[in-house]
Amino acid sequence: MKRIKKVPHFIGNGLLNTAEGIGKAGYLLFQTVYWIGRGFVDWKNTVAQMVEVGWMSFPVIALTSFFTGMVLALQSGQSFKNVFNEPVFIGTVVGFSLVKELGPVLTSIVISGRVGASIAAELGTMKVTEQLDALYTLGTNPVRYLAVPRFIACVTMVPMLSIMSNIIGIFGGLLVSVYKWGIPSTIYWDDIFNFMDVGDFFHGVIKSFIFAAFIVITSIHKGFECEGGAEGVGKATTSAVMISMVMILVSDYFLTYLLVLLRIG
Protein backbone atom coordinates (compact mmCIF):
# COMPACT_ATOMS: atom_id res chain seq x y z
CA MET A 1 0.00 0.00 0.00
CA LYS A 2 2.76 2.42 0.95
CA ARG A 3 4.48 1.73 -2.32
CA ILE A 4 1.37 2.43 -4.32
CA LYS A 5 0.99 5.79 -2.61
CA LYS A 6 4.47 6.68 -3.76
CA VAL A 7 3.54 6.24 -7.41
CA PRO A 8 1.74 9.60 -7.94
CA HIS A 9 4.58 11.28 -6.07
CA PHE A 10 7.09 9.57 -8.35
CA ILE A 11 5.25 10.58 -11.51
CA GLY A 12 4.76 14.11 -10.21
CA ASN A 13 8.46 14.47 -9.49
CA GLY A 14 9.32 13.06 -12.89
CA LEU A 15 7.11 15.61 -14.61
CA LEU A 16 8.52 18.44 -12.51
CA ASN A 17 12.08 17.42 -13.29
CA THR A 18 11.30 17.18 -16.99
CA ALA A 19 9.66 20.59 -16.96
CA GLU A 20 12.61 22.04 -15.08
CA GLY A 21 15.03 20.46 -17.55
CA ILE A 22 13.15 21.86 -20.53
CA GLY A 23 13.12 25.29 -18.90
CA LYS A 24 16.85 25.21 -18.25
CA ALA A 25 17.66 23.93 -21.73
CA GLY A 26 15.47 26.68 -23.18
CA TYR A 27 17.30 29.27 -21.14
CA LEU A 28 20.62 27.83 -22.30
CA LEU A 29 19.48 28.17 -25.91
CA PHE A 30 18.45 31.75 -25.22
CA GLN A 31 21.83 32.61 -23.63
CA THR A 32 23.74 30.96 -26.47
CA VAL A 33 21.84 32.88 -29.12
CA TYR A 34 22.23 36.05 -27.05
CA TRP A 35 26.04 35.76 -26.99
CA ILE A 36 26.13 34.98 -30.70
CA GLY A 37 23.89 37.97 -31.35
CA ARG A 38 26.24 40.22 -29.40
CA GLY A 39 29.10 38.99 -31.55
CA PHE A 40 30.98 37.23 -28.75
CA VAL A 41 32.18 34.32 -30.82
CA ASP A 42 35.57 32.74 -30.26
CA TRP A 43 36.32 31.81 -33.87
CA LYS A 44 39.45 29.80 -33.16
CA ASN A 45 37.47 27.47 -30.92
CA THR A 46 34.48 27.45 -33.24
CA VAL A 47 36.55 26.36 -36.23
CA ALA A 48 38.13 23.61 -34.15
CA GLN A 49 34.65 22.39 -33.23
CA MET A 50 33.49 22.58 -36.83
CA VAL A 51 36.36 20.35 -37.87
CA GLU A 52 35.50 17.97 -35.05
CA VAL A 53 31.79 17.84 -35.94
CA GLY A 54 31.95 18.10 -39.71
CA TRP A 55 35.18 16.62 -40.94
CA MET A 56 35.56 13.89 -38.35
CA SER A 57 31.96 12.70 -38.79
CA PHE A 58 32.14 12.67 -42.56
CA PRO A 59 33.50 9.11 -43.06
CA VAL A 60 30.83 7.43 -40.95
CA ILE A 61 28.07 9.54 -42.51
CA ALA A 62 29.37 8.74 -46.00
CA LEU A 63 29.49 5.03 -45.29
CA THR A 64 26.03 4.82 -43.72
CA SER A 65 24.35 6.95 -46.39
CA PHE A 66 25.95 5.05 -49.25
CA PHE A 67 24.55 1.79 -47.93
CA THR A 68 21.21 3.37 -47.10
CA GLY A 69 20.89 4.54 -50.69
CA MET A 70 21.82 1.08 -51.91
CA VAL A 71 19.29 -0.70 -49.72
CA LEU A 72 16.55 1.75 -50.70
CA ALA A 73 17.17 1.02 -54.36
CA LEU A 74 17.25 -2.69 -53.68
CA GLN A 75 14.02 -2.72 -51.66
CA SER A 76 12.02 -0.37 -53.87
CA GLY A 77 13.22 -2.14 -57.01
CA GLN A 78 12.18 -5.51 -55.62
CA SER A 79 8.80 -4.27 -54.40
CA PHE A 80 7.95 -2.56 -57.69
CA LYS A 81 9.06 -5.63 -59.55
CA ASN A 82 6.65 -7.73 -57.49
CA VAL A 83 3.80 -5.28 -58.05
CA PHE A 84 4.39 -3.94 -61.57
CA ASN A 85 6.65 -6.68 -62.91
CA GLU A 86 9.44 -4.20 -63.49
CA PRO A 87 11.53 -1.94 -61.25
CA VAL A 88 10.31 1.59 -62.01
CA PHE A 89 10.67 4.93 -60.28
CA ILE A 90 13.62 3.79 -58.19
CA GLY A 91 15.30 7.20 -58.52
CA THR A 92 12.15 8.92 -57.28
CA VAL A 93 11.82 6.72 -54.23
CA VAL A 94 15.50 6.88 -53.33
CA GLY A 95 15.68 10.62 -53.93
CA PHE A 96 12.60 11.59 -51.93
CA SER A 97 13.31 9.22 -49.06
CA LEU A 98 16.85 10.47 -48.67
CA VAL A 99 16.41 14.17 -49.21
CA LYS A 100 13.29 14.61 -47.10
CA GLU A 101 13.70 11.95 -44.41
CA LEU A 102 16.64 9.62 -44.18
CA GLY A 103 19.39 12.11 -44.96
CA PRO A 104 18.51 14.49 -42.11
CA VAL A 105 17.32 11.80 -39.69
CA LEU A 106 20.19 9.34 -40.14
CA THR A 107 22.78 12.10 -40.07
CA SER A 108 21.29 13.50 -36.88
CA ILE A 109 21.13 10.09 -35.23
CA VAL A 110 24.77 9.42 -36.06
CA ILE A 111 25.73 12.89 -34.83
CA SER A 112 23.86 12.46 -31.56
CA GLY A 113 25.82 9.27 -30.94
CA ARG A 114 29.15 10.67 -31.99
CA VAL A 115 29.11 14.37 -31.21
CA GLY A 116 26.31 14.61 -28.64
CA ALA A 117 27.91 11.93 -26.50
CA SER A 118 31.32 13.53 -26.66
CA ILE A 119 29.96 16.98 -25.81
CA ALA A 120 28.04 15.67 -22.81
CA ALA A 121 31.04 13.65 -21.59
CA GLU A 122 33.56 16.44 -22.06
CA LEU A 123 31.47 19.18 -20.47
CA GLY A 124 30.27 16.80 -17.74
CA THR A 125 33.85 15.99 -16.83
CA MET A 126 34.66 19.69 -16.78
CA LYS A 127 31.71 20.25 -14.47
CA VAL A 128 32.61 17.57 -11.95
CA THR A 129 36.29 18.56 -11.89
CA GLU A 130 35.32 22.21 -11.25
CA GLN A 131 36.71 23.42 -14.58
CA LEU A 132 33.43 25.24 -15.24
CA ASP A 133 33.79 27.06 -11.92
CA ALA A 134 37.37 27.88 -12.89
CA LEU A 135 36.13 29.57 -16.07
CA TYR A 136 34.07 32.00 -14.01
CA THR A 137 37.00 32.84 -11.75
CA LEU A 138 39.14 33.57 -14.82
CA GLY A 139 36.74 36.10 -16.25
CA THR A 140 34.70 34.11 -18.71
CA ASN A 141 31.38 32.42 -18.87
CA PRO A 142 30.99 28.74 -19.81
CA VAL A 143 28.12 29.48 -22.19
CA ARG A 144 30.29 31.90 -24.09
CA TYR A 145 33.44 29.86 -24.06
CA LEU A 146 32.04 26.33 -24.44
CA ALA A 147 28.42 26.42 -25.64
CA VAL A 148 28.67 29.03 -28.38
CA PRO A 149 31.40 27.31 -30.46
CA ARG A 150 29.72 23.90 -30.18
CA PHE A 151 26.32 25.32 -31.05
CA ILE A 152 27.57 27.12 -34.16
CA ALA A 153 29.57 24.07 -35.24
CA CYS A 154 26.56 21.75 -34.97
CA VAL A 155 23.91 23.92 -36.57
CA THR A 156 26.15 24.64 -39.55
CA MET A 157 27.84 21.27 -39.99
CA VAL A 158 24.86 18.94 -39.51
CA PRO A 159 22.87 20.44 -42.42
CA MET A 160 26.03 20.26 -44.56
CA LEU A 161 26.58 16.65 -43.60
CA SER A 162 22.95 15.93 -44.31
CA ILE A 163 23.30 17.37 -47.82
CA MET A 164 26.44 15.27 -48.33
CA SER A 165 24.54 12.27 -47.09
CA ASN A 166 21.79 12.89 -49.66
CA ILE A 167 24.27 13.08 -52.50
CA ILE A 168 26.25 10.01 -51.45
CA GLY A 169 23.07 8.02 -50.81
CA ILE A 170 21.72 8.89 -54.24
CA PHE A 171 24.95 7.60 -55.78
CA GLY A 172 24.57 4.40 -53.77
CA GLY A 173 21.07 4.04 -55.22
CA LEU A 174 22.43 4.68 -58.69
CA LEU A 175 24.92 1.86 -58.33
CA VAL A 176 22.21 -0.66 -57.45
CA SER A 177 19.79 0.65 -60.10
CA VAL A 178 22.34 0.30 -62.84
CA TYR A 179 24.08 -2.93 -61.88
CA LYS A 180 21.35 -4.85 -60.11
CA TRP A 181 18.23 -3.70 -62.00
CA GLY A 182 19.83 -2.73 -65.28
CA ILE A 183 18.22 0.71 -65.42
CA PRO A 184 20.14 3.26 -67.50
CA SER A 185 21.56 6.04 -65.35
CA THR A 186 19.78 8.77 -67.35
CA ILE A 187 16.43 7.31 -66.37
CA TYR A 188 17.50 7.16 -62.73
CA TRP A 189 18.44 10.85 -62.77
CA ASP A 190 15.27 11.80 -64.64
CA ASP A 191 13.20 9.91 -62.08
CA ILE A 192 14.77 12.09 -59.40
CA PHE A 193 14.76 15.50 -61.02
CA ASN A 194 11.42 15.33 -62.79
CA PHE A 195 9.64 15.16 -59.47
CA MET A 196 11.83 16.89 -56.96
CA ASP A 197 12.01 20.66 -56.47
CA VAL A 198 13.83 23.15 -54.29
CA GLY A 199 11.13 22.93 -51.61
CA ASP A 200 11.93 19.25 -51.03
CA PHE A 201 15.56 20.13 -50.61
CA PHE A 202 14.82 22.85 -48.05
CA HIS A 203 12.39 20.55 -46.27
CA GLY A 204 15.34 18.29 -45.43
CA VAL A 205 17.79 21.06 -44.67
CA ILE A 206 15.43 22.84 -42.27
CA LYS A 207 14.79 19.61 -40.39
CA SER A 208 18.48 18.82 -40.05
CA PHE A 209 19.11 22.33 -38.73
CA ILE A 210 16.44 21.91 -36.05
CA PHE A 211 17.65 18.40 -35.14
CA ALA A 212 21.18 19.79 -34.79
CA ALA A 213 19.96 22.45 -32.39
CA PHE A 214 18.13 19.78 -30.34
CA ILE A 215 21.22 17.59 -30.13
CA VAL A 216 23.69 20.28 -29.22
CA ILE A 217 21.51 22.05 -26.65
CA THR A 218 20.51 18.76 -24.99
CA SER A 219 24.11 17.57 -24.80
CA ILE A 220 25.49 20.84 -23.47
CA HIS A 221 22.67 21.07 -20.95
CA LYS A 222 23.30 17.50 -19.73
CA GLY A 223 27.03 18.24 -19.44
CA PHE A 224 26.55 21.50 -17.53
CA GLU A 225 24.03 19.94 -15.13
CA CYS A 226 26.13 16.83 -14.57
CA GLU A 227 26.77 15.87 -10.95
CA GLY A 228 28.55 13.18 -9.04
CA GLY A 229 31.86 12.10 -10.53
CA ALA A 230 32.49 9.46 -13.18
CA GLU A 231 29.09 7.87 -12.65
CA GLY A 232 27.38 11.20 -13.19
CA VAL A 233 29.31 11.77 -16.41
CA GLY A 234 28.22 8.35 -17.65
CA LYS A 235 24.59 9.08 -16.85
CA ALA A 236 24.74 12.51 -18.46
CA THR A 237 26.21 11.03 -21.63
CA THR A 238 23.65 8.25 -21.89
CA SER A 239 20.71 10.54 -21.28
CA ALA A 240 22.01 13.17 -23.73
CA VAL A 241 22.13 10.55 -26.49
CA MET A 242 18.81 8.94 -25.57
CA ILE A 243 16.92 12.21 -25.31
CA SER A 244 18.42 13.51 -28.57
CA MET A 245 17.47 10.36 -30.47
CA VAL A 246 13.93 10.27 -29.15
CA MET A 247 13.47 13.98 -29.79
CA ILE A 248 14.72 13.61 -33.37
CA LEU A 249 12.36 10.77 -34.19
CA VAL A 250 9.31 12.19 -32.45
CA SER A 251 9.73 15.78 -33.55
CA ASP A 252 10.35 14.56 -37.10
CA TYR A 253 6.67 13.77 -37.49
CA PHE A 254 5.49 17.14 -36.22
CA LEU A 255 8.10 19.07 -38.16
CA THR A 256 7.15 17.27 -41.34
CA TYR A 257 3.50 18.03 -40.68
CA LEU A 258 4.28 21.69 -40.12
CA LEU A 259 6.56 22.04 -43.14
CA VAL A 260 3.99 20.40 -45.40
CA LEU A 261 1.40 22.80 -44.00
CA LEU A 262 3.71 25.68 -44.89
CA ARG A 263 4.10 24.16 -48.36
CA ILE A 264 7.80 23.57 -47.98
CA GLY A 265 8.30 20.26 -49.72
Binding site: Q131, D133, T137, G139, N141
Partner: protein, 253 residues
Protein backbone atom coordinates in the same frame (compact mmCIF):
# COMPACT_ATOMS: atom_id res chain seq x y z
CA UNK B 1 37.51 44.31 2.37
CA UNK B 2 35.26 41.29 2.40
CA UNK B 3 32.42 40.97 4.85
CA UNK B 4 30.40 37.81 5.26
CA UNK B 5 27.27 38.16 7.30
CA UNK B 6 24.81 35.50 8.42
CA UNK B 7 25.48 33.17 5.48
CA UNK B 8 23.45 29.96 5.36
CA UNK B 9 23.99 27.30 2.71
CA UNK B 10 22.44 23.90 2.32
CA UNK B 11 22.47 21.11 -0.25
CA UNK B 12 19.14 19.31 -0.48
CA UNK B 13 18.38 18.69 3.19
CA UNK B 14 21.99 18.95 4.35
CA UNK B 15 22.67 22.23 6.11
CA UNK B 16 26.36 23.07 5.64
CA UNK B 17 26.71 26.73 6.66
CA UNK B 18 24.52 27.92 9.52
CA UNK B 19 25.13 31.64 9.78
CA UNK B 20 28.76 32.42 9.04
CA UNK B 21 29.98 35.87 10.09
CA UNK B 22 33.48 36.81 9.02
CA UNK B 23 35.44 39.88 8.05
CA UNK B 24 38.58 39.82 5.97
CA UNK B 25 40.49 43.08 6.27
CA UNK B 26 42.48 44.61 3.45
CA UNK B 27 45.98 43.22 3.01
CA UNK B 28 45.58 40.58 5.67
CA UNK B 29 45.89 36.84 5.35
CA UNK B 30 43.09 35.00 7.07
CA UNK B 31 43.22 31.25 7.42
CA UNK B 32 40.15 29.10 7.81
CA UNK B 33 40.62 25.78 9.54
CA UNK B 34 38.08 23.10 10.30
CA UNK B 35 37.33 19.42 9.95
CA UNK B 36 37.10 17.68 6.66
CA UNK B 37 33.67 18.21 5.13
CA UNK B 38 32.72 21.07 7.46
CA UNK B 39 32.14 23.46 4.58
CA UNK B 40 35.37 25.41 4.07
CA UNK B 41 35.41 25.02 0.30
CA UNK B 42 31.69 25.78 0.20
CA UNK B 43 32.33 29.00 2.14
CA UNK B 44 35.04 30.10 -0.33
CA UNK B 45 32.73 29.39 -3.26
CA UNK B 46 30.00 31.45 -1.67
CA UNK B 47 32.38 34.36 -1.19
CA UNK B 48 33.43 34.35 -4.84
CA UNK B 49 29.85 33.83 -6.03
CA UNK B 50 30.14 30.33 -7.50
CA UNK B 51 27.50 29.24 -5.00
CA UNK B 52 24.63 31.36 -3.75
CA UNK B 53 23.68 31.31 -0.09
CA UNK B 54 20.02 30.87 0.82
CA UNK B 55 20.35 33.50 3.48
CA UNK B 56 22.84 36.18 4.43
CA UNK B 57 24.93 38.76 2.67
CA UNK B 58 28.44 39.02 1.31
CA UNK B 59 30.11 42.35 0.67
CA UNK B 60 33.18 42.78 -1.50
CA UNK B 61 34.56 46.31 -1.25
CA UNK B 62 31.19 47.38 0.13
CA UNK B 63 29.21 45.86 -2.74
CA UNK B 64 26.68 43.15 -1.94
CA UNK B 65 27.41 40.26 -4.30
CA UNK B 66 24.89 37.51 -3.64
CA UNK B 67 22.17 39.11 -5.74
CA UNK B 68 24.21 40.53 -8.61
CA UNK B 69 23.36 39.55 -12.16
CA UNK B 70 25.87 37.54 -14.09
CA UNK B 71 27.81 40.28 -15.84
CA UNK B 72 28.17 42.38 -12.68
CA UNK B 73 29.25 39.31 -10.77
CA UNK B 74 31.86 38.53 -13.42
CA UNK B 75 33.34 42.00 -12.84
CA UNK B 76 33.61 41.32 -9.11
CA UNK B 77 35.10 37.88 -9.77
CA UNK B 78 37.88 39.48 -11.80
CA UNK B 79 39.24 40.91 -8.54
CA UNK B 80 39.76 37.37 -7.29
CA UNK B 81 42.25 34.64 -7.86
CA UNK B 82 41.03 31.19 -6.83
CA UNK B 83 43.16 28.13 -6.25
CA UNK B 84 40.81 25.15 -6.43
CA UNK B 85 41.27 22.28 -4.01
CA UNK B 86 41.55 19.91 -7.00
CA UNK B 87 43.48 22.45 -9.12
CA UNK B 88 40.70 22.38 -11.80
CA UNK B 89 43.14 22.84 -14.66
CA UNK B 90 41.63 22.89 -18.15
CA UNK B 91 42.78 19.53 -19.43
CA UNK B 92 42.34 20.37 -23.10
CA UNK B 93 44.87 23.20 -22.78
CA UNK B 94 48.61 23.16 -22.08
CA UNK B 95 50.05 24.38 -18.79
CA UNK B 96 51.10 27.63 -20.46
CA UNK B 97 47.62 28.20 -21.93
CA UNK B 98 46.09 27.46 -18.54
CA UNK B 99 48.17 30.12 -16.82
CA UNK B 100 47.56 32.58 -19.67
CA UNK B 101 43.80 31.95 -19.67
CA UNK B 102 42.75 34.70 -17.28
CA UNK B 103 45.25 37.14 -18.80
CA UNK B 104 43.77 36.62 -22.25
CA UNK B 105 40.23 37.14 -20.99
CA UNK B 106 40.73 40.05 -18.69
CA UNK B 107 43.17 41.99 -20.84
CA UNK B 108 44.93 43.39 -17.78
CA UNK B 109 48.29 43.40 -19.55
CA UNK B 110 49.22 43.86 -23.22
CA UNK B 111 49.09 40.61 -25.23
CA UNK B 112 52.80 40.64 -26.03
CA UNK B 113 53.66 40.54 -22.31
CA UNK B 114 51.49 37.52 -21.54
CA UNK B 115 54.13 34.93 -22.43
CA UNK B 116 56.66 36.52 -20.12
CA UNK B 117 54.15 36.81 -17.29
CA UNK B 118 53.24 33.13 -17.64
CA UNK B 119 56.87 32.03 -17.26
CA UNK B 120 57.29 34.40 -14.33
CA UNK B 121 54.29 32.95 -12.50
CA UNK B 122 55.37 29.38 -13.15
CA UNK B 123 58.84 30.22 -11.85
CA UNK B 124 57.26 31.66 -8.67
CA UNK B 125 55.74 28.28 -7.91
CA UNK B 126 58.98 26.47 -8.72
CA UNK B 127 58.09 25.15 -12.18
CA UNK B 128 60.29 25.49 -15.26
CA UNK B 129 60.00 24.00 -18.73
CA UNK B 130 56.49 22.61 -18.25
CA UNK B 131 54.57 25.21 -20.35
CA UNK B 132 53.96 22.82 -23.21
CA UNK B 133 52.85 19.83 -21.17
CA UNK B 134 49.20 18.90 -20.75
CA UNK B 135 47.83 18.72 -17.17
CA UNK B 136 47.49 14.94 -17.49
CA UNK B 137 51.29 14.73 -17.71
CA UNK B 138 51.82 16.44 -14.35
CA UNK B 139 52.01 15.03 -10.83
CA UNK B 140 49.36 16.00 -8.27
CA UNK B 141 51.60 18.55 -6.57
CA UNK B 142 52.64 20.06 -9.89
CA UNK B 143 48.99 20.47 -10.89
CA UNK B 144 48.34 22.27 -7.64
CA UNK B 145 51.21 24.65 -8.31
CA UNK B 146 50.07 25.32 -11.88
CA UNK B 147 46.63 26.06 -10.41
CA UNK B 148 48.31 28.53 -8.07
CA UNK B 149 50.27 30.16 -10.92
CA UNK B 150 47.00 30.51 -12.85
CA UNK B 151 45.24 32.06 -9.84
CA UNK B 152 47.87 34.76 -9.31
CA UNK B 153 48.73 35.54 -12.95
CA UNK B 154 46.29 38.43 -13.42
CA UNK B 155 47.48 40.07 -10.18
CA UNK B 156 44.17 39.87 -8.34
CA UNK B 157 43.44 41.95 -5.24
CA UNK B 158 42.02 38.95 -3.43
CA UNK B 159 43.37 35.42 -3.54
CA UNK B 160 41.60 32.39 -2.15
CA UNK B 161 43.77 29.40 -1.58
CA UNK B 162 41.97 26.10 -1.06
CA UNK B 163 44.60 23.90 0.58
CA UNK B 164 47.65 25.35 -1.16
CA UNK B 165 50.17 23.02 0.47
CA UNK B 166 48.25 19.75 0.41
CA UNK B 167 50.10 17.11 -1.58
CA UNK B 168 53.41 18.99 -1.59
CA UNK B 169 56.67 17.88 0.01
CA UNK B 170 57.63 19.84 3.14
CA UNK B 171 60.18 21.99 1.35
CA UNK B 172 57.89 22.86 -1.53
CA UNK B 173 55.12 23.53 0.99
CA UNK B 174 57.34 26.09 2.65
CA UNK B 175 58.19 27.66 -0.71
CA UNK B 176 54.45 28.15 -1.24
CA UNK B 177 54.11 29.60 2.28
CA UNK B 178 56.81 32.11 1.39
CA UNK B 179 55.02 32.93 -1.86
CA UNK B 180 51.77 33.64 0.00
CA UNK B 181 53.64 35.91 2.40
CA UNK B 182 55.48 37.58 -0.49
CA UNK B 183 52.26 38.34 -2.36
CA UNK B 184 50.79 39.87 0.76
CA UNK B 185 53.84 41.92 1.77
CA UNK B 186 54.96 43.06 -1.68
CA UNK B 187 51.67 43.47 -3.49
CA UNK B 188 49.26 44.05 -0.62
CA UNK B 189 47.10 41.10 -1.61
CA UNK B 190 44.25 40.13 0.69
CA UNK B 191 44.10 36.36 1.11
CA UNK B 192 41.90 33.67 2.47
CA UNK B 193 43.68 30.38 3.00
CA UNK B 194 41.97 27.10 3.75
CA UNK B 195 44.32 24.53 5.14
CA UNK B 196 44.75 21.49 7.34
CA UNK B 197 48.48 22.19 7.59
CA UNK B 198 48.77 23.93 10.98
CA UNK B 199 52.45 24.74 10.46
CA UNK B 200 51.57 26.62 7.29
CA UNK B 201 48.58 28.27 9.00
CA UNK B 202 50.75 29.63 11.82
CA UNK B 203 53.36 30.87 9.38
CA UNK B 204 51.25 32.69 6.79
CA UNK B 205 48.27 33.98 8.75
CA UNK B 206 47.54 37.27 10.41
CA UNK B 207 44.42 35.71 11.79
CA UNK B 208 43.00 32.21 11.96
CA UNK B 209 39.30 31.36 12.12
CA UNK B 210 37.81 27.98 12.79
CA UNK B 211 34.68 26.76 11.03
CA UNK B 212 32.74 24.33 13.17
CA UNK B 213 29.16 23.11 12.77
CA UNK B 214 28.46 25.71 10.12
CA UNK B 215 29.67 28.70 12.11
CA UNK B 216 32.91 30.56 12.76
CA UNK B 217 34.18 29.93 16.25
CA UNK B 218 37.16 31.75 17.69
CA UNK B 219 38.88 33.98 15.18
CA UNK B 220 42.20 35.25 16.44
CA UNK B 221 45.92 35.67 15.88
CA UNK B 222 47.98 32.52 15.41
CA UNK B 223 49.17 32.78 19.01
CA UNK B 224 45.66 33.20 20.36
CA UNK B 225 44.53 30.15 18.42
CA UNK B 226 47.54 28.10 19.50
CA UNK B 227 46.77 28.83 23.14
CA UNK B 228 43.02 28.87 22.84
CA UNK B 229 41.00 27.83 25.89
CA UNK B 230 38.10 26.79 23.66
CA UNK B 231 37.93 23.01 23.88
CA UNK B 232 36.94 22.54 20.23
CA UNK B 233 39.70 24.80 18.87
CA UNK B 234 42.23 23.25 21.22
CA UNK B 235 41.37 19.72 20.16
CA UNK B 236 41.55 20.64 16.48
CA UNK B 237 44.84 22.55 16.43
CA UNK B 238 46.52 19.93 18.56
CA UNK B 239 45.05 17.18 16.44
CA UNK B 240 43.64 15.08 19.27
CA UNK B 241 41.25 12.23 18.71
CA UNK B 242 39.68 12.71 22.17
CA UNK B 243 37.55 15.77 22.85
CA UNK B 244 34.28 17.52 22.04
CA UNK B 245 34.61 16.90 18.28
CA UNK B 246 33.38 13.41 17.56
CA UNK B 247 33.71 11.95 14.09
CA UNK B 248 30.93 9.37 14.47
CA UNK B 249 33.41 6.57 14.16
CA UNK B 250 32.67 3.02 15.09
CA UNK B 251 34.99 2.79 18.07
CA UNK B 252 35.38 -0.96 18.25
CA UNK B 253 39.13 -1.23 18.00
Amino acid sequence: MIKVSGVHKKFKSKQVLRGVDLEIRDAETLTIIGGSGCGKSVLLKNIIGLLKPEEGEIFVDGKETTRLDESDLLEVQKKFGYLFQGAALFDSLTVGENVAFGLNNMKTIPPNEIGKRVLECLAMVGLKGVENLKPAELSGGMKKRVGLARAIAHKPEYIMYDEPTTGLDPIMADVINDLIIHLQKQLGVTSIVVTHDMKSAYKVSNRIAMLYEGKIIGAGSPDEIKNSKDAVVHQFVEGLSQGPITLNLDKNF
